[in-house]
Amino acid sequence: MPEEGHPQALARSRVADRPLAAEVLSVSDRQPVPKVAGVSGPPAAKRLLELVTAHHVGVWRFLRRLGLNRADADDALQETIVIVARRLGEVALGSERSFFYGAALRVAHGAWRRRARRAEVDDDSLSGVVGVDPPQDALLEQRQMRELLDALLRRMPEELRTVFVLYEIEGFTMAEIARMLSLRPGTVASRLRRGRADFEQRVARLEGSSRHEGGQP
């Protein structure tokens, strides 16, 4: 499952999960896995475990960027894994990651339907969300930046946001996104272009308002 153009940060996060995954694998190997006629056993389990180990952080993050809060993202991730587990046998080798994210997207849609959106976005102002000047504390800055990121993403049309997040944050190629979303490559390219324009315009506006409030020209 290559990760073309994927940021290093994600790679680091995967490394951090490996000891635990190895431990789970090790223990699962020791535990007697029941044999059921017609049911694949440990190979399927390991395939799923490898998939989840490698990509659960990204899928969870994807769910967050789609607008789910942390608790809902936790639940949606587990729901997604159950779905993936059920259908993993139908997924071609090498397509597992896309399938995982695609399932997560469908689960997120379900979550949206089940729950009213937290806050209806009825204006275009981002004032009061968070300042753009970095606070002294790095963790606080990260949190504030994420809040701002999510506020910006919430204002983006859903079809643009999905493509934007998959490409810009999760590192999928446009071809992978097209397959995942059953879209034509041109449609993906168009949505990405419009998503980027939307995002950068809002960021520029934010930067401009920050400069204005700070007394800068």
Partner: protein, 280 residues
Amino acid sequence: MSPPSRLVEGQASELTRRLLQAGLSERPTAGVTRRVLVLAVAIPTATKASLAAGGAVAAVKWLGVGFLAGGVAIAGTKGLSFLSSAPAALRTERAARASASHDDSGGASAIRPGLHPRTLPERRRIADSAPPQPAAEARLTRERTGGGGAAVLTGGAQAAASRAASRVPAAVSPSAAVPGSPSEALSAVPVQSTLGAEIAWIDRARLALSAGQPATALTTLEQYRQRYPRGRFGPEATALEVEARLLGGDGAGARALAAHFLARHPTSPLAERVRSLTNP
């Protein structure tokens, strides 16, 4: 035409890059990671096995008892108390998430590093098996530094089992439904739902013990036995009853029950725990 380079890689404004990098840096809590990894181990067999009744029982038995048994085996080697407070952790998990978005006590509270039953007086030993919530972060830190690697799985496994239990209908579950938890996917796993109800009863008893309420634990275990006379977690229920009786001051009853348990289950993974409780 080559695809556009990604904004985070440098062609965007500084703020854009910071925003995207902040999005990239977010991770689920350690507890969530544990749960989904354990879920990933359990789901293929449990889910598919639900298509065949016999195998399903074995599968979920593996999920539930196997994890508990594994927990004992692992905890035994690490000097940990496995019969502690995973359910408490589950109940407090959302509150903990609200207050500490980068931390999670989900699996951590099942761990009691450094506490060996033999080192404490009988009653205090059991009462202390309910770790105070503020200690969760310290425990989690120890886990992250590698001190409790195997036990992490134990906690996560119990949490996963408990989480599955939280998805059973309120009519059969003794536990309050977890607000906002998705039910559709897991409710399609009938065997897990059935077993989940049993697990929930056991977890409730363990929760009561963790909260220092032996009478509630005993009542819960009695209700469990009435509801499931052929329950799959009879040994676990008995082990918990031993602990509850000790905590409630019924040392003689606890020892008699322990002797009965050890006679019936001398090689059970729970046997070591029961022995340590009644023969410190």
